[in-house]
């Protein structure tokens, strides 16, 4: 053995908190997503419903404009919980498409490039890695859901003093309603990507999953004379969770408890798949 005359001295200076390391993964994933034209396109598309909402709010508070346009706007589109639920629904569909467009890519590229050993041979756990990827998707989908919707609430509140006090639950409903959808989209999309490991297939499968599964459940409903399909149908699940938050009447027959249960099951399954599939080294058989 050679004689080693030098003494190795590692760095002992200040370091950022270990709990913040997932942010590095998230930051790079966001940068990767924003480099895509379709991400920018969807972010721009997401502005249209908001712009429409902003125009309606503006017209409500500009009597001159309503008179000129001769619109019965106040009667047709009242600025209430239903209005904001409509905005949130539209924004969540765009968030769904945005997740489908970027979600698979941020994970599949690492899996296909065998990049996981590089990440996980550093002070970063698999959970932190997955969390970082999911956080990137959540950050971008937040930009098209609760962040701009709360901006509309702020606009309405600024134009009509006392409105916010009278409708105080709308802002929390938007925030909580968005966060019912955002983790579901992010984790399911990542789980599908982890299983398929092909971007195009994962994107298609993610979209199909939310339509094919309720369809299969509907077939079971017909044959077994049960009512399962609703528990798998995304718009019904969200409606059941959102309507009580917005203090509105629910109409689809799926209880909020059952909807929350479906949501939890989907989140648990997606997390389990991710923990099983996102590994630093593959078993070669």
């Amino acid at each position: 053995m050679a004689v080693h005359s030098h003494v190795f001295r590692p760095y002992e200076g200040a370091r950022t908190a270990p709990g913040r390391r997932w942010m590095v993964v998230a930051r790079y994933a966001i940068a990767e997503a924003l480099s895509l034209k379709k991400t920018v396109g969807l972010l721009v598309t997401a502005a249209f419903p908001l712009l429409g909402g902003a125009i309606v709010i503006y017209l409500h508070h500009n009597l001159e404009a309503i008179k000129i346009l001769e619109l019965p706007l106040k009667a047709l589109v009242p600025i209430d919980a239903k209005f904001f639920l409509w905005i949130l629904t539209a924004q969540c569909w765009i968030a769904f498409l945005l997740t489908a467009a970027i979600g698979a890519r941020v994970l599949v590229n690492d899996l296909r490039d065998n990049a996981l050993p590089l990440y996980l041979s550093r002070p970063l756990t698999r959970v932190e890695y997955i969390f970082g990827k999911a956080a990137a998707i959540a950050a971008l989908t937040s930009l098209v859901t609760w962040v701009p919707s709360l901006g509309l609430v702020a606009l309405q509140a600024s134009l009509e003093p006392g409105w916010l006090v009278a409708n105080w639950w709308i802002a929390p409903a938007i925030f909580l309603g968005s966060w019912a959808a955002i983790p579901l989209f992010a984790l399911v999309c990542l789980a599908v990507a982890a299983v398929l490991r092909r971007r195009a297939a994962a994107e298609a499968a993610f979209v199909a999953l939310f339509f094919v599964v309720p369809l299969i459940a509907r077939i079971f409903d017909e044959f077994l004379h049960v009512r399962w399909a609703m528990r798998f149908f995304l718009p019904a699940i969200f409606e059941s969770i959102w309507t009580p938050l917005f203090r509105l009447q629910q109409s689809n027959g799926l209880s909020p408890g059952a909807a929350l249960f479906s949501l939890m099951v989907a989140l648990t399954l997606a997390s389990a798949v991710l923990l099983r599939r996102v590994k630093a080294w593959e078993v070669v058989r």
């Binding site: 053995m1 050679a2 080693h4 005359s5 030098h6 003494v7 190795f8 590692p10 760095y11 200076g13 200040a14 370091r15 950022t16 908190a17 270990p18 913040r20 390391r21 590095v24 790079y28 990767e32 480099s35 590229n109 690492d110 490039d113 065998n114 990049a115 050993p117 590089l118 990440y119 996980l120 041979s121 550093r122 002070p123 970063l124 630093a280 080294w281 078993v283 070669v284 058989r285």
Partner: protein, 322 residues
């Protein structure tokens, strides 16, 4: 420490210690019953594809957990955060974030160690400079040649100044000049007191690199230690070959055949020497000295003909490697 068979009862210390480690991927054997200790310096893990080199590296980097046994890296378990700070890993495959420049690649992974922005920048630049890629640091890795990719991978592995460098097939795809530069760099890193662990399936190149060898075959450690020591221990089963350059090879051959430990002699085709096979190298050298000092033959050069990794591996596992 050296042994042709697995060493037993390796004491734990500041090095990298495997104690009866096995790893099975389902029914597939990764490594089995590995007990060894890796000291500072350059250690080469050698063996053909599927011998268990990458599994051993994955185990010491904490990327996979052993099915059985214990591993200690600098006195800690492999997934201990204290180990990650002191361990640098260079994967066998290319793995780069899409669109990243060389600098971004090194800096991005450095951030995972928790360095502040200025420290990240400083370290990334220093590591890139050390592998000679400063000029190309702002270019995208996707446009790099194979050699440049190997360099930038090495830069990201050593940018955080690790005490242990685990490099999976680092010389793959390099031209002879780049190989030579890499080997010099490994020696430099080892001389700083680091553990530099490289894997290779090309046996003749590890002779140039390693202080210590770990020879793997089908998941088992066939031998470990330094090549001359390994060869010496094998001399009973595998007589040693010694090449002699001399003026009168036929005359020397006839004299050597009088010794009972010499079992075979081949004259070299160029007529300027011979290769003798002996069961006792020490007695062979004494005999050769005696003949030369008496002036019976003019000996120009003497060297072991099979004291290299390739020969040792071939003897041990009975198969040809590259």
């Amino acid at each position: 420490m050296s042994a042709v068979v697995r060493t037993e009862g390796v004491a734990s210390g500041a090095g990298i210690v495997f104690t009866d480690v096995s790893k099975f991927y389902g029914e597939v054997l990764g490594v089995n019953g590995v007990t060894l200790s890796i000291e500072p310096g350059i250690t080469a893990l050698v063996g053909p594809n599927g011998a268990g080199k990458s599994t051993l590296m994955n185990l010491m980097t904490g990327l996979v957990s052993p099915t059985r046994g214990q591993i200690a890296v600098l006195g800690h378990a492999p997934r201990d955060p204290a180990v990650f700070r002191r361990l640098g890993y260079c994967a066998q495959f290319d793995a780069f974030p899409r669109g990243a420049t060389g600098f971004q690649f090194v800096a991005g992974f450095l951030r995972l160690f928790g360095y502040e922005k200025e420290e990240v920048s400083l370290r990334a630049r220093a590591a890139i400079e050390r592998v000679g890629l400063t000029e190309a640091a702002k270019r995208r890795v996707a446009g790099y040649s194979k050699g440049m990719r190997q360099r930038i991978k090495l830069a990201q592995a050593m940018a955080h100044d690790p005490a242990v460098l685990v490099l999976d097939e680092p010389l793959n795809g390099l031209d002879p000049m780049a190989r030579s530069e890499f080997i010099s760099l490994f020696r430099e890193l080892a001389s700083e007191g680091r553990h530099v662990i490289v894997s290779s399936h090309i046996l003749h190149e590890v002779d140039l690199i390693a202080d210590q060898l770990v020879m793997l075959h089908q998941g088992y450690v066939a031998a470990e230690g330094e090549i001359p020591e390994m060869r010496e221990e094998m001399v009973v089963d595998r007589p040693m070959q010694i090449a002699v350059r001399c003026s009168e090879p036929s005359r020397l051959a006839s004299r050597l055949f009088t010794a009972d430990h010499v079992i075979e002699i081949k004259l070299l085709p160029d007529g300027d020497g011979l290769i003798a096979t002996t069961r006792d190298a020490d007695r062979f050298y004494l005999l050769l000295n005696e003949l030369a000092s008496r002036g019976e033959v003019g000996v120009e050069a003497v060297a072991p003909a099979d004291e290299d990794a390739h020969a040792v591996y071939r003897y041990l596992v009975g198969s040809e490697a590259q």
